[in-house]
């Protein structure tokens, strides 16, 4: 569904992405894992067209995305740090999103309900706590029932209850055969979600393996331990 071919992106002298090639198919839940500044967010932003790679191509459903925009109809994106116009209320943000995005399916307002966002609809974005912002970001990502969900650190800043609610929602969507691309530092959270692991370091893709294979190779039962083992072997 998403195929990246040898994409390279430099910020100044630093390679944020160095010749990365990845294929992601629908029905998978792929975890993007790597140390800080390994290029995870840059990769995600390249897929969304927010960052333009210096070289290489990315295609969505076999169509190159360079200078395209309509394909984003099928993507729900939850950014790592949700940045919204500060003087808009939550209700206005939702209204704006609904106005610019013609729904291709029925709207999915489950998360708005389960996060109880209705109560704070008329609060301005600038007054929101980090966690509430995350809830708004998550609700927008899921709102249009997209085929692909790209979640950048979805549970960062969420309280345990909301975090569980979100994970439940992600599992639900995965079971409907959607492609889910998720980055997280809290590896223990990914254990029961993920089917495949993409490991990045210094802008390079180290490996792309299914979770089962990774566990088998490292002989560990937990994703966090398996990754820790990989990181230690890499360092040597």
């Amino acid at each position: 569904m998403i195929a990246a071919n040898n994409i390279t992106k430099k910020f100044g002298k630093v390679y944020a992405l160095d010749n990365v090639s990845v294929t992601c198919n629908s029905g998978e839940c792929i975890a993007l894992i790597g140390p800080n500044a390994s290029g995870k967010t840059t990769f995600i932003k390249s897929v969304l067209g927010m960052v333009v790679p210096d070289s290489g191509t990315i295609s969505f459903n076999n169509i190159p995305i360079a200078n395209q925009w309509a394909y984003r109809d099928r993507i729900g994106y939850m950014p790592q740090i949700g940045r919204y116009p500060e003087n808009m209320t939550i209700a206005q943000v939702f209204k704006l999103m609904k106005a610019i995005r013609k729904p291709i399916r029925t709207m999915d307002e489950d998360l708005i309900k389960s996060f109880e966002l209705e109560k704070v609809m008329d609060k301005r974005m600038r007054t929101l706590s980090g966690g509430t912002r995350q809830k708004v970001s998550a609700s927008i990502a899921f709102l249009f029932n997209p085929d692909v969900l790209i979640l950048d650190e979805p549970t960062a800043g969420l309280d345990p209850v909301s975090s569980e609610l979100l994970k439940l929602k992600i599992t639900e969507e995965k079971n409907q055969g959607k492609l889910i691309l998720v980055t997280s530092h809290v590896l223990s959270e990914l254990d029961d979600l993920v089917s495949e692991v993409l490991y990045m370091q210094d802008g390079k893709l180290n490996f792309q393996k299914s979770l089962a294979l990774l566990k088998q190779e490292t002989g560990e039962q937990k994703l966090s331990k398996a990754i820790a083992k990989v990181m230690i072997t890499n360092r040597q």
Partner: protein, 255 residues
């Protein structure tokens, strides 16, 4: 495109600076027309103030507005919208609100006190200058990521167009006063939209006789219908070129 433009306009109206700008224009124009016994003289005073204030407000307000909309732009870019639509909508939103503010603030007094060709020319030039300086602001803020630097560049650009350019032209005139410079002066004036606007309005006022031989050469060129057509074309390029350059930059910008 229409929805985003509407959103931008509503957002600009909400912060009330535009309202203040309209009232300021209105107050200045009414004061001048009431203080001067001769409305033609009033128009001349108004011209000098307008040519200073309109570019300043347009370029500074637009630059700051664009930097303040960074979050809004980021939010929209990840949605199924072409970048072109986002950028052009912001441009149209800014141009419409700033030029409407000008047309109300200066237009109403002019239509009351001086509803002739000169007054209308002044309205037209002020309108074009508003849009031109929004366009230049778009370019300045697309090029620089740093807010303070972008606003600094905008202030410098305004200084250049309002003050420095004329000084440079004067300097050249004095250095080369032994040569006939009237024709090159016409070319020079194309390089500054404010000068171009000023010349067109002054020519309509029939006081170009006071400008001596240069005035006569200017009248020969700018006074004709070809001259007016060329001026309009150049002013429209001053709108079109910066905004399309900025669009080109924005399309490849990393957010």
């Amino acid at each position: 495109m229409k929805k985003i433009t509407m959103y931008v306009i509503v957002d600009i109206l909400r912060n009330k600076i535009i309202l203040f700008y309209t009232l300021l224009c209105l107050a200045i124009s009414l004061c001048i027309f009431n203080l001067e016994s001769n409305t033609a003289k009033g128009l001349l005073t108004l011209l000098n103030i307008i040519l200073l204030i309109v570019p300043l407000i347009c370029i500074i307000f637009s630059t700051i507005y664009i930097y303040n909309s960074t979050e809004f732009i980021e939010l929209l870019v990840s949605q199924p919208l072409p970048r072109r639509t986002i950028w052009i909508s912001i441009f149209i939103g800014l141009s419409v609100s700033l030029s409407v503010a000008y047309l109300i603030g200066v237009g109403i007094p002019i239509l009351i006190y001086q509803p002739d060709a000169t007054g209308l020319m002044m309205l037209l030039m002020g309108f074009l200058l508003s849009v031109i300086f929004v366009s230049i602001a778009m370019l300045a803020s697309a090029r620089t990521r740093d807010k303070a630097r972008g606003i600094g560049i905008s202030i410098l650009l305004w200084l250049y167009f309002s003050l420095l350019f004329d000084s440079i032209v004067l300097f050249i005139l004095f250095q080369f006063q032994d040569y006939p410079l009237e024709k090159p002066m016409i070319i020079f004036s194309f390089l500054n939209p404010i000068d171009l606007g000023r010349i067109q309005i002054l020519l309509k006022m029939d006081i170009s006789a006071l400008m001596g031989y240069t005035g006569a050469v200017f009248k020969d060129f700018f006074g004709t219908s070809t001259g007016i057509a060329v001026t309009t074309f150049v002013l429209l390029s001053w709108i079109f070129i910066p905004v399309s350059l900025s669009l080109k930059i924005f399309k490849r910008k990393d957010l």
